[in-house]
């Protein structure tokens, strides 16, 4: 919360204002960016992972469809899509996006806690949610780069033909951001409270992997699993992205999914913010911020 200037301590150099709040947000984002670029191994993973991860599913699909591809007719009947490569890479790329957000955004506060700098930030007269929001910005930018590199590599190495619209694909990404990052914010608060990330990441990414149809249509799931899929925003992100990037169905085809994603996005942002506030209050009582 920004304090009124008249209540500032005498002699202080601080001049809180709306623009100083924005500068603080930028400072957190820039500091996080410096940390990203000063550990340069991320660039390697940015290039390699988009290729390696879907390969597992693509080769499995090739084996199942037979050497002459005769099994693909059934795939097309189930999915309505003939290009199984494009179908799989869209699903796996969205899964990886959520996975990386869970690790990076979800782990951002915990990383600060382990370095010992979280308390230093908490001592500043800046709104504490700024640290979580600001540190997400560089990760959002690197993920946009990751999606672009993935699309390029799939087109060049796997011959995927993105017949849809780039603008619609970007619109899907834009509308998906609140859901994907809202979950990341909620996750960050859980991780700092539990001081452990792995179990949560494995649980969430496992749910997305099984329920959201990253390599198969959701209607192939057993009946009892399908309502669960309907409550996961990634189900709609994947479906909308397939339509936007791989088909020429246009905006009308994805509008219902985008509307649902906006509702999910709002809900996850509210939940993420609420959980952060809960964690912050709890940490103030328990002293968890300074604990390793």
């Amino acid at each position: 919360m920004t304090v009124e200037t008249q209540s500032l301590p005498a002699g202080s150099l601080a001049r809180p204002s709306f623009s100083s709040d924005l500068r603080a947000l930028w400072a957190v984002a820039y500091r996080e960016w410096l940390y990203v670029v000063r550990y340069p191994t991320w660039a390697l993973s940015l290039l390699v992972w988009p290729v390696i991860f879907p390969l597992l599913y693509l080769l499995t699909a090739r084996a199942l469809s037979g050497a002459d591809g005769s099994g693909l007719a059934q795939f097309q009947a189930n999915t309505g899509v003939g290009d199984y490569v494009g179908y799989i890479v869209v699903g796996t790329t969205i899964w990886m996006w959520q996975n990386v957000v869970l690790w990076n955004v979800g782990f951002s506060l915990r990383g600060e806690q382990m370095r010992g700098t979280l308390e230093s930030n908490w001592l500043m007269p800046t709104r504490r949610f700024t640290y979580l929001l600001g540190s997400s910005i560089p990760h959002l930018l690197t993920m946009m780069l990751f999606l672009a590199i993935s699309a390029f590599e799939f087109a060049v190495l796997f011959g995927v033909r993105f017949e849809g619209s780039l603008w619609l694909a970007m619109l899907v990404v834009l509308v998906s951001i609140p859901s994907v990052y809202g979950l990341g914010f909620a996750f960050a608060s859980l991780v700092i409270t539990a001081r452990e990330a792995n179990a949560f990441v494995f649980l969430v990414r496992g749910l997305v992997m099984i329920f959201c149809g990253i390599t198969y249509p959701v209607n192939l799931l057993p009946a009892w699993m399908q309502p669960i899929a309907a409550f996961l925003p990634q189900t709609y992100i994947i479906r909308a992205m397939r339509s936007a990037a791989l088909s020429t169905a246009g905006l009308e085809a994805i509008v219902p999914d985008l509307q649902i994603l906006l509702v999910f996005g709002l809900a996850w942002l509210v939940l993420g913010y609420g959980m952060f506030q809960w964690m912050e209050r709890r940490a103030r009582k328990s002293g968890a911020i300074g604990q390793y």
């Binding site: 301590p9 150099l13 500091r31 001592l123 500043m124």
Partner: protein, 349 residues
């Protein structure tokens, strides 16, 4: 009402106690859970880290909070700087309440916690200061000037653009102190500021603290170094087991045991029973024994109300049964002796 820089009123902080160890480092087994999930849970036992701390610190004063590890010094500082919420009680910092006006309290404070780990090692010294200046809401033009001023003052100009990971511990500590000074806050909280520094760096930092007082800052510092508290503090609060057990000027504290005489012995071949025998000698008030690391020697500090009476028997006792006196000197009471007198143990025990 006086306008104190810091006024703590009966601060209490309790934490839930962890499950007790079975002595082998492993935690004792919990009672098996019953199937009914809504059963009434037994409340966890609480550990009281700070137990009713009240103090008033004047503007411009250096106040030392002195105590052994685990005495409650850092918990007190963490409550004052709004990182921790008190279980009960409150404090007013620069006229602002720590629970209801936390942002204004943080505006009023420059806080040094955890020293060199409180800054970013993958950023340069300058980048660290620019970052924290922005979080203090200092306008960019003023921040730039202030950062340069502090870099100059801390004699870090030549290395300001290097990553902090390449700095020595002393240099990192200077950046951490600079961070606390960025917004020119009226009050500084310094938690163990010289911990881990080499003697020269510690001396420089102590000089800096005295300079900051001359510039008008109020300083609350915690330390477990007696000499540091003695040299820097206008007043000292001795804290043990979460309570302030004495609060006075260093001279005032020493006067409390002025009538006592302190004799320090170095003894080879000390054994436990000898301690009991020394305590029974006439005139002996307090005794602490500490093994000298890497040597077969024990440092023994004895407080006596009548040394002339106790000394011959004391010397005779330690030169007995294979043990012998290696060195002995008689000293004026120090803060360490005050601490021993108040708590019955040495500060580093």
């Amino acid at each position: 009402m006086e306008n104190w820089a810091i006024e703590a009123k009966d601060l209490v902080k309790k934490f839930p106690q962890r499950a007790p160890s079975n002595g082998n480092g492993a935690q004792t087994k919990k009672a098996p859970a019953r199937w009914w999930p809504f059963r009434k849970r037994e409340p966890k036992p609480l550990f009281t880290a700070v137990d009713g701390v009240s103090l008033q610190i004047e503007r411009g004063e250096i106040f030392g909070l002195l105590g052994p590890n685990g005495a409650g010094k850092s918990t007190t500082i963490r409550m004052l700087c709004t990182l921790l919420e008190p279980t009960s009680g409150t404090a007013i910092i620069n006229g602002f309440d720590i629970t209801r006006q936390a942002t204004q309290v943080r505006q009023s404070l420059g806080t040094l916690l955890a020293g060199e780990r409180s800054i970013y090692w993958k950023l340069s010294g300058r980048e660290n200061l620019e970052y924290f200046a922005t979080l203090y809401h200092i306008p960019p033009a003023i921040a730039k000037k202030r950062v340069e001023e502090l870099i100059e003052r801390m004699e870090l100009k030549e290395r300001a653009n290097e990553l902090v990971e390449k700095y020595s511990t002393g240099m990192r500590q200077r950046i951490a102190i600079s961070k606390a000074l960025l917004a020119r806050p009226p009050i500084l909280l310094l938690d163990e500021p010289t911990l881990g520094l080499d003697p020269q760096a510690a001396r420089n930092l102590r000089e800096l603290i005295l300079d900051l007082q001359k510039e008008g800052h109020t300083i609350l510092l915690t330390t477990h170094y007696m000499e540091e508290a003695d040299q820097l503090s206008d007043r000292i609060g001795i804290i043990d087991q979460g309570k302030i057990i004495a609060l006075d000027t260093p001279e005032g504290l020493k006067r409390r045991i002025e009538q006592r005489e302190i004799v320090r012995l170095e003894v080879a071949g000390w054994y436990e029973k000898m301690g009991e025998q020394v305590r029974q000698l006439p005139g002996i008030e307090d005794l602490t024994v500490r093994k000298v690391e890497g040597d077969d020697l024990w440092e023994v500090s004895v407080q006596s109300l009548n040394l002339r009476q106790s000394l011959p028997a004391l010397v005779g006792l330690v030169n007995h049964n294979g043990s012998h006196l290696v060195n002995m000197n008689i000293q004026k009471p120090s803060l360490e002796d005050v601490f021993i007198h108040l708590t019955g143990k040495a500060l580093r025990d």
